[in-house]
């Protein structure tokens, strides 16, 4: 330091300057202590008030969100965050409110901020997945769903992970990604609790994904644990087994489903199943005379369908039909096994060709299903 030219710049130990300086310093220290204590209490009062405001605003936001007032809820949550910055619960709710209010970009920003701090946060990833779905970005949504499934959940982790996977499956089904959905469902069975409701839910999802075998297995397990299973379970089980080609069992499930008041599709499915049972020419235990009867009845049904759908005579089914028609009679079918097979094949072909034609009868639908089933078997 430079030399001080002033003569009164004495060292601290000088006698005449020591006493006043010491007292002054002591007084200043005392003032600082008083200020410290006063500020401490003031700060505590502020902090307490901030916490109260944050809590009140958050509660108001939750009520608004439940009442469907997402925009108002977002404002409340924003205010709560202002007085309780960094509160993850507030931020998550804010993101949800923003998303509900249609402010997707802002919601996404808040969620990404949360993920920056905790990349494995389950709820944040789930919210981002839902936002991605709204933007029709299935790939991104799937990534976030997976991150949520394997992420951290503060409470009920297993349950939340299960629900997340179910939500992913529903999203995949909605986007017609059946293979991916089935893959997720296989993974889901490992975490599935042995509760009837959950089993039935899984069964329904398997059914929607086209995995009839697993669907039926899940539903049957569910119904074994439930004394009076709901009509929907019975309907789904019936549909599953119906698609597996076991029409008699399907009739039984669907009949019970209709009795339990399942929705209208059960009745329709039941009619088709009954028709399939009545018309299946290759069902086990069907005698030759019944086969002839069924084939002849099917011929009549197909003929009506052909008329209804105006099948062109020069189409393959049309040509086959034109060739066979003069020869078909009950007696001829009973005498000629080859004719019987040809008629059955022609019926199946025609019903498959007219599948897209509107207003099929349950019999038409049944014949189309039988055609599909037996086509795979080379009949």
């Amino acid at each position: 330091m430079e030399n001080d030219p002033q003569p009164d710049a004495t060292p601290f130990q000088t006698g005449t300057a020591t006493a006043p300086r010491g007292y002054t310093l002591a007084a200043m220290l005392a003032i600082a202590v008083v200020l410290f204590v006063a500020l401490h209490f003031l700060n505590q009062a502020f902090a307490s008030r901030h916490r109260r405001i944050a809590h009140e605003e958050y509660a108001a936001g939750v009520r608004a969100l439940e009442a469907g007032q997402a925009a108002d809820a977002a404002e409340r949550f924003l205010t709560a965050l202002r007085f309780s910055p960094g509160n993850r619960e507030y931020e998550l709710n804010l993101a949800q409110a923003l998303a509900t209010a249609g402010r997707l970009r802002q919601a996404e920003s808040y969620l990404h901020t949360l993920l920056e701090e905790e990349p494995g946060d389950g709820m944040a990833n789930l919210q981002l997945a839902r936002l991605a779905l709204r933007e029709h970005d299935l790939a991104r949504a799937t990534r976030h769903f997976h991150a949520a499934m394997y992420g951290a959940w503060p409470q009920e982790g297993q349950k939340r992970r299960l629900e997340t996977r179910i939500e992913l499956v529903r999203a995949l089904l909605q986007e017609q990604q059946l293979t991916a959905a089935r893959s997720e469902l296989i993974g889901l069975t490992g975490d599935l609790p042995d509760e009837p409701g959950r089993l039935a839910e899984a069964g329904a999802l398997f059914l929607a994904a086209g995995d009839n075998r697993n669907a039926f297995a899940m539903l049957r397990r569910a119904m074994e644990k439930q004394e009076a299973p709901p009509g929907d379970w019975l309907r789904d089980a019936g549909l599953a087994i119906f698609r597996m080609g076991n029409y008699p069992s399907a009739v039984e499930y669907l009949r019970r489903a209709v009795e339990r008041g399942a929705d209208g599709s059960s009745a329709e499915a039941l009619a088709i199943a009954r028709a399939a049972v009545a018309l299946d020419p290759y069902a086990r235990g069907v005698r030759h005379s019944d086969h002839v009867l069924r084939a002849y009845r099917a011929w009549g049904i197909a003929a009506r369908r052909m008329e209804q759908c105006s099948v062109a005579p020069d189409s393959e089914p049309g040509k086959q039909w034109t060739e066979l028609r003069p020869r078909v009679s009950r007696a001829a079918l009973a005498r000629d096994p080859e004719l019987l097979d040809a008629v059955t094949e022609a019926v199946f072909r025609l019903e498959q060709a007219t599948e897209s034609c509107p207003s099929p009868t349950p019999e038409d639908s049944a014949l189309a299903l039988l055609a599909q089933r037996y086509a795979g078997q080379g009949r």
Binding site: D4, L25, M28, L39, N43, L78, G86, H112
Partner: protein, 579 residues
């Protein structure tokens, strides 16, 4: 015997008495001032928050009526209080602290601190577009000044204690101890020394400890993680630096043009100017940009986390410039640090967003651009390039950002300096009629060295072990009137008269050292030494050798007082500079 004994006892007593000098007191005071400064800043921030809560309520988006009425009413009250009771609290506080250091021997009245505290907290809490950091700097300086005066420190120490208090105030307000130290040394004090640096660091650390004790260690705004910056993206940040430079020029020009015009208006209008500014700011807020009101830290946080579109960020940057110009030029007490950071963050986010919209391969996040943008405006507008770099590093805690910060800040600083040579603080002080030293001008001023004044060696150089006859022979071919001799203990000049006298006295075979004058050795200089060192040395000898640093026997030139004067005359003739 008794006298001897008494003397001995006295000596023992004085030997063991602790020598607590003013130097020690000064360092202790630095800590004390840091603590008290920190307390004052905490109280200041609580006052701002309390005022905002009281006047605007807790809602993030207050009603239109409040947005319009509150800043207007606060402006009216603040305008009257400032003019009637605290006229010295106008402005940000940085120049007022410099004035204390360079003009008023470190004197800042406590009344100023009180007035700044009350009026700035009301103004900022009431929505005026100003920041709390500069007032905190002045409050800290004022507290330090009071402490120093009460303890009757020497004038030199009193002059230095105000910047130490300023450091404490700024550090506590900013929660950035390193940046505070650098800013005060770079912009207020203007020089480094161990004493100043040590005291400011102690004060800064103490203040930040106190501030964090009360307010927590959370930053004023959260910084998003900074991703790795690819080298090919540095060009994008360079563009930000260029844009930031122009924005800072617009900002500075706005203040420099409007401020003197408003000050020149009749005095009665100055009661209303803060109110009118408040009303205009309220209109901006009510029109859809309430983010520009107050310090704006929440908006900076939101901008960092991509809450706004880049278009809206650009709008906010422009509106904040307008709002801050209105607030500041109307005489409302408050600072420019926070608005500078706000404008920088918004501008950075806008430029980053626009660049990403045009060039999708750019991967830097909006938050990273916003962070760099803050440093850009800090460098370009406040003209604190070193502080701006450290500030960004300190608040982000991430060294990955160093390259874009260096590129953008440097570009911004150089461009703004070329467009507007006078920094904003110097501009404001000159508008107030004060000729404070410009730290930037001091930094940029040329430093003259010995090599600029020295002339070629024109005297013989001999070892002092050489004989008198040898010396005289060497002088036969020289017009010089002396020889320079060197020996183990240094250099000596021996005049030709002394040599001839020795020859006449038949001492021609003796060594030059034997007949050298008794006046002693003369010091030598090095070519790179400042000219001030040469002047001190030339007081002891009429001419001094300039020697090589690697070989002390190699003389590269010589310098005299006349040579130094000739150097200044030459420079004055060349560029008219005064040094």
């Amino acid at each position: 015997m008794s006298e001897t004994r008494a003397a001995a006892t006295g000596e023992r007593r004085s030997r063991y008495r602790p020598a607590f000098t003013e130097e020690h007191l000064f360092l202790f005071l630095a800590i004390f001032i840091g603590i008290v400064g920190g307390l004052a800043v905490v109280a200041f921030r609580l006052a701002i928050e309390g005022t905002s809560l009281l006047l605007f309520g807790p809602a993030v988006h207050p009603s239109t009526m409040r947005l319009l009425l509150v800043p207007t009413a606060v402006g009216l009250v603040v305008g009257a209080v400032v003019l009637l009771f605290f006229p010295r609290v106008r402005g940000s506080g940085v120049n007022q602290t410099k004035s204390a250091l360079y003009i008023y021997d470190g004197f800042i009245p406590f009344r100023t601190a009180l007035g700044k505290f009350l009026t700035a907290s009301a103004a900022i809490g009431g929505g005026h577009s100003l920041g709390p950091e500069d007032p905190s700097l002045q409050i800290g300086a004022a507290i330090a000044s009071v402490v120093g005066r009460k303890l009757r420190l020497s004038r030199e120490k009193l002059r230095l204690i105000a910047p130490i208090g300023a450091t404490a105030g700024l550090a506590a307000a900013f929660n950035a101890p390193i940046s505070a130290v650098l800013f005060v040394i770079e912009e207020v004090v203007g020089r480094w020394s161990a004493g100043i640096f040590g005291a400011t660091v102690l004060a800064s650390v103490s203040a930040v400890v106190v501030a964090r004790w009360f307010l927590g260690s959370e930053p004023l705004f959260r910084i998003p993680p900074v991703e790795f910056i690819r080298p090919n993206e540095l060009l994008a940040y360079a563009v930000l630096g260029i844009v930031g430079a122009f924005a800072s020029v617009v900002f500075a020009r706005g203040i420099s043009l409007l401020r003197p015009r408003l000050k020149a208006l009749p005095r009665w209008t100055q009661f209303l100017q803060p109110a009118i500014a408040g009303l205009l700011i309220g209109i901006i807020g009510a029109a859809g940009a309430p983010q520009v009101m107050g310090a704006g830290y929440e908006a900076i946080d939101q901008a960092m986390h991509g809450q706004f579109t880049w278009q809206f960020l650009a709008v906010l940057a422009a509106l904040k410039i307008l709002a801050t110009v209105l607030s500041f030029t109307s005489g409302t007490p408050g600072g420019m640090f926070a608005p500078t950071l706000f404008i920088g963050a918004m501008l950075g986010g806008a430029v980053g967003g626009a660049e990403q919209a045009l060039f999708s391969h750019l991967t830097g996040s909006v938050g990273t651009y916003a962070l760099v943008g803050m440093g850009v405006l800090f460098a370009a507008f406040l003209r604190a390039p070193m502080t701006s770099v450290f500030m960004v590093l300190e608040v982000s805690g991430n060294y990955s950002i160093i390259l874009p910060v260096l590129v953008a800040n440097t570009l911004a600083y150089l461009i703004s300096r070329s467009l507007d040579p006078v920094p904003i603080f110097d501009l404001l002080s000159r508008q107030d009629g004060l000729e404070l030293p410009s730290m930037e001008e001091q930094r940029e001023a040329a430093i003259w060295r010995v090599e600029d004044a020295m002339r070629p060696l024109d005297v013989p150089v001999l070892a002092e072990s050489e004989s008198v006859e040898s010396a005289l022979r060497a002088l036969e071919h020289s017009a010089a009137g002396m020889v320079l001799t060197y020996g183990p203990e240094g250099w000596t000049t021996v005049s030709i008269a002394a040599l001839e006298h020795a020859r006449r006295a038949e001492r021609g075979q003796e060594t030059v050292a034997a007949i050298a004058p008794a006046t002693g050795k003369i010091p030598a200089l090095y070519p790179d030494q400042p000219i001030g060192v040469a002047l001190k040395t030339l007081a002891a000898a009429p001419v001094v050798p300039v020697i090589h640093r690697a070989d002390s026997h190699q003389v590269v030139g010589m310098v005299s007082l006349q040579d130094v004067l000739d150097m200044y005359r030459r420079l004055q003739n060349v560029n008219g500079d005064r040094h």
